[in-house]
Symmetry: C2
Subunit: 245 residues, 2 copies
DNA sequence: CGCCCAGTTGAAGAATTTCAAACGATGTGG
DNA sequence: CCACATCGTTTGAAATTCTTCAACTGGGCG
């Protein structure tokens, strides 16, 4: 819609800041690299004009070329089964890196779509691999990144496996809260980038159940919602909810 | 209990065959490495006498030192929540590699236990990382390995998220079948290394529901079971089950 | 103004869990 | 050798939770 964010074809190397100056560098790939190494990483990062909601970053089956770091905005990723049903596998907020399913088979098993106007850094994977051989710290960060995704997926699996609708929704909201807090944003007040349907799909529930659960959490005074805007009133009790059952 | 884990100070390099001769080399880390590189990998692999059922490989919170490749037998891994409830995160058969949750935080988030008498190769992670810098193919395989774990976890999540008990059990059995077939073993007749309770926990169901589902699959003639021994009578129909709903 | 979409709410239905009992194989002690 | 306890598993019936189907609401936009 608005193209006010698109930059003219000026200096190509550094139109949207760089890794060294990015305030996400403490949670993203540059983590604990030397300034010198960050510059080398910087050189292979492709920064782009902001993408608008709905833009596809990649689709299931696409050849795998790059992973994507979110600078601002939000993405969702999903897989599609043989009947065409979609299963959302993750939401990616600033500092997160999407596309780590790619190296498995040299192609994406997920599709990735922009949920809100977003800035995304594209990291060509073969260059990352090459650089990783020369910069041990980067190699380590890459492996750590993948491993964290594994651990996160396992936590998610626990959630889907043995907990009630209320527990799932509470845990989901807490996860969102934590990820906002990570960027020095309010832990108790934020706007969800995804629809109720997306949340339901992600949590393995129906849209209606999610809606009812939101309502119930409001009635009991833990929460206050206005559409996608969330205000967590009692963070501690919500935290209890997320662990009960 | 048993301190059989300590290796005798005999020839340390090659007591139980080696990667080059291991028939799992086509699915394990050596995949598509040169003979020379396989030897270098070989040099850091610690092979051990078979471990008996119940042996713990590592526990949640243990410092992360190594990943473990299964040569023979089976492992299970699980996480424990703050209430002490366990959630099984995976079963590892020959050719699988456990412990990839470790790099995330330099400690294991899972515990790993031997389900049947098993042979396991211990791969010290810091040596793997070092070798990875020198052997690009190994680095690539490592990253691919982690990525595959991510994709597999995502498939698992789909299963837990939006499918009936019957679908979950059918998909579980098919997964087991495929993994047996991978090693040129029978796809239709095998012995499960884990209990019904373990299956239930893994699939996010109760023990009773799993048992009932097994019974139902038998009544409808897709399956024949005797305790842990499974005979898949109609693989195709079972495959349909795993995708229906 | 009225349509459309995302979200909410209600009531009936279906599936799984829970509680309970019983089974069969295995192992132990009298 | 048999009685008995134990463990993993199976089966039954009631209770609970979530889904399904359906109607309704309210804001945004042509």
């Amino acid at each position: 819609m608005h193209s006010r964010l698109s930059t003219p074809s000026s200096k190509p190397s550094c139109p949207y800041s760089n890794c060294g100056r990015c305030r996400l560098s403490t949670v993203c790939l540059p983590l604990s690299l030397s300034l010198d190494d960050i510059h080398r990483l910087d050189a292979i990062v492709q920064r782009r004009p902001p993408l608008q909601s709905g833009t596809m970053l990649y689709r299931t089956g696409d050849p795998f070329n790059a992973i994507y770091a979110v600078r601002a905005g939000a993405l969702k990723t999903w897989t599609t089964d043989i009947h065409g049903r979609e299963q959302i596998t993750g939401f990616y907020l600033p500092g997160d890196i999407a596309g780590l399913d790619g190296p498995a088979n040299h192609q994406h098993s997920n599709s990735a779509q922009v949920l809100q106007t977003s800035s995304v850094c594209k990291l060509p994977y073969h260059l990352l691999e090459q650089l990783g051989s020369k910069v041990p710290g980067l190699q380590r960060n890459l492996l750590q990144l993948l491993s964290r995704e594994i651990v996160h997926d396992q936590q998610q699996r626990r959630l889907l496996s043995r907990s009630s609708a209320q527990t799932r929704v509470a845990a989901f909201l807490l996860d969102m809260s934590n990820r906002h807090q990570r960027h020095n944003l309010s832990a108790t007040e934020f706007t969800l980038p995804m629809s109720r349907g997306d949340i339901a799909n992600f949590l393995g529930l129906t849209l209606e159940t999610v809606s009812r659960t939101f309502s119930h959490l409001q009635k009991t005074g833990l929460l206050s919602t206005a559409g996608k805007h969330i205000h967590i009133i009692d963070l501690e009790q919500l935290s209890d909810c997320a662990q009960t059952d």
